[in-house]
Subunit: 349 residues, 2 copies
């Protein structure tokens, strides 16, 4: 009988953050593609677009005028999924089939730059530091609202990721409950911390650095790597080396190192297919419920959909929805490809 070769044979890998598996089919990466092709967004965007609702000085759908901002600019989402209003309600915990409860929250938009055509990889490090400072401020302000127990910072980049405006921006949805994925993660982080008295990610990053098979970028305070259990073809995670539970705990040197790794990782992404690389990214960190959360360890997920070119993405559909996530290219191969790419943006070459 043939011995298991993780680089060749179909196998499943376990994700200890959410207690789920992914099916990996390394032999399948050569299958031909006859399906849908994505449209590539033209790179020729103007620095200012008079029709963009995020550009400085422009009027938004609700009649508000954006200030003439110079760095980042934060405002309440005009079509927020959450509302601040308090709603009276009696929970019936015995209900099995029709459990519902009102959810309070605040949802904000964070413009990363006044320039309509400037995405993270093309920004100077100082501008990214400024975004990190904005995230810190929002995490603090929103987290201090009495009914807010979780602050989700995220970015949808590219029309293929449902982003309706190329102006560089992210969002923050802050709410009273822990969202499903965060709660799953917290449960697993807590179990690990209670057993080992160290965070799961502290130990994981140490092991990854030792093995050096999935590391994409390393600097003094941060590591970007393709997790062993990645589901998206070029999925990565940025983890702080120091065991820090939230973005507000970073020293100024750490802020700089985080900005540098963000710039370098997104530059490599753009260089991969020489296109403005789409992804959804998001920060997972301590809830803001006023309790201590030593089990939480700051990390940022990048879930990019592209698979083989600027126009061919991975579809997480039938089998993935009914069964489990599936990937062809291995995490090790993706990491090697990303590692090999330049940290100079292709447009500047």
């Amino acid at each position: 009988m043939k011995n298991f070769d993780i680089n060749e044979d179909p196998h499943r890998r376990y994700n200890p953050l959410i207690n789920e598996w992914v099916l990996v089919s390394p032999h399948r990466s050569k299958r031909p593609w006859q399906g849908q092709n994505e449209t590539v967004t033209s790179d020729a965007l103007p620095e200012y677009d008079p029709t963009c609702y995020l550009c400085p000085g422009n009027v938004r759908a609700n009649g508000m005028v954006n200030p003439d901002y110079e760095n980042s600019f934060v405002f309440e989402n005009d079509f927020a999924a959450l509302k601040q209003e308090e709603i009276a309600f009696e929970e019936n915990r015995n209900e099995t089939f029709f459990r519902a409860k009102p959810e309070r929250g605040i949802s904000r938009v964070v413009c990363f730059s006044p320039k309509h055509n400037l995405t993270l990889p093309e920004m100077p490090v100082e501008a990214i530091e400024n975004i990190i400072h904005t995230w810190q401020k929002e995490y603090t302000d929103l987290g201090n609202v009495d009914y807010i127990n979780h602050v989700q910072i995220f970015e949808n980049k590219g029309s293929v990721m449902g982003c309706s405006n190329p102006h560089p921006h992210g969002q923050i949805w802050a709410q009273s409950s822990l969202p499903t994925e965060v709660e799953k993660t917290q449960n697993n982080l807590k179990t690990y911390f209670d057993t080992h008295n160290k965070t799961l990610l502290e130990d994981y990053v140490k092991e990854e650095l030792k093995l050096d098979e999935r590391i994409v970028i390393e600097n003094e305070h941060f590591v970007a790597l393709v997790p062993f259990w990645a589901i998206w073809p070029y999925e990565t995670i940025i983890v702080s080396k120091r065991n820090v539970s939230k973005i507000t705990d970073f020293t100024e040197t750490e802020v700089t190192d985080f900005a540098v790794i963000l710039k370098q990782l997104t530059t490599k992404y753009d260089n991969l297919f020489e296109t403005s690389f789409p992804y959804s990214s998001g920060i997972h960190q301590s809830p803001t419920d006023g309790k201590l959360h030593p089990e939480w360890h700051f990390h940022m997920h990048f879930y990019p959909p592209l698979l083989r070119s600027a126009t061919i993405k991975k579809f997480m559909v039938g089998y993935e929805m009914m069964g489990e996530s599936q990937r062809d290219i291995t995490a090790e191969k993706s990491a090697a490809i990303l590692r090999g790419l330049s940290i100079t943006h292709y447009k500047n070459k």
Copy 2:
């Protein structure tokens, strides 16, 4: 303080099948859309396409020739994600970060019809009965393979769902492990069954029929409804009224009723935006591990991405990937819309 109104106020709903929540924002359904539009596939397909690798008599990528089939036709997937080969392997259960194990399986393609342009809603009921008989045969044959413990029957329909060929077909991925989503469901079904000595879905469907708020179609043996906890805008589930754990337990009358409800539901879907409606569907039923599974109750999920028109889909991206699924239109409203649609296909009007 305002009292909770489930039709108006942001809230979360609980999914007892997988123990996860969904964020519902009913007030948000009117937000404008400036993002990506999907391309509508032209309806003018020929009955036979000489370049299609699924049409009768044509040659596939690997050189095999399709027979001149008359009903459904099943073959091994030419680019299978799973392989049948047995792989030697020693599991290390103490491993936390790098757990992987080989996975054996068989992956097949099921052509639903020799006609290149005939999808489920436009097929005669007898042709759909024939597909159900094919699924029964495959479930039995694959389930009888000693190392196969789970048989996942599914369909990806439409290019937006990663389907690379409009020829009507589904797939079956059979494997030795229970996939993540199935295992989650099984755990919850089992807990319910152990407590109530009835299946969760038997009780749920009874309650839904009593309330009559989310039912889309009902016939003697089946119900199609928008589950209370649906995440996709027009998500539905078909459940057998009788507590049957697998497709092979259906009587011939049940096969007919299942075929009828499949035809009617997919016809309503096509009528919604007068387009060939994309979705991923899949059957959840008893594993084939040789054990008794009285907790399992046959059901079929439909996850369709379209939101507001034939070209505007819902994106499950940043917040949904990091936090939890989110929807705007309520399950009750979607059910009312689907219920109101004709069961005569728009092309035949």
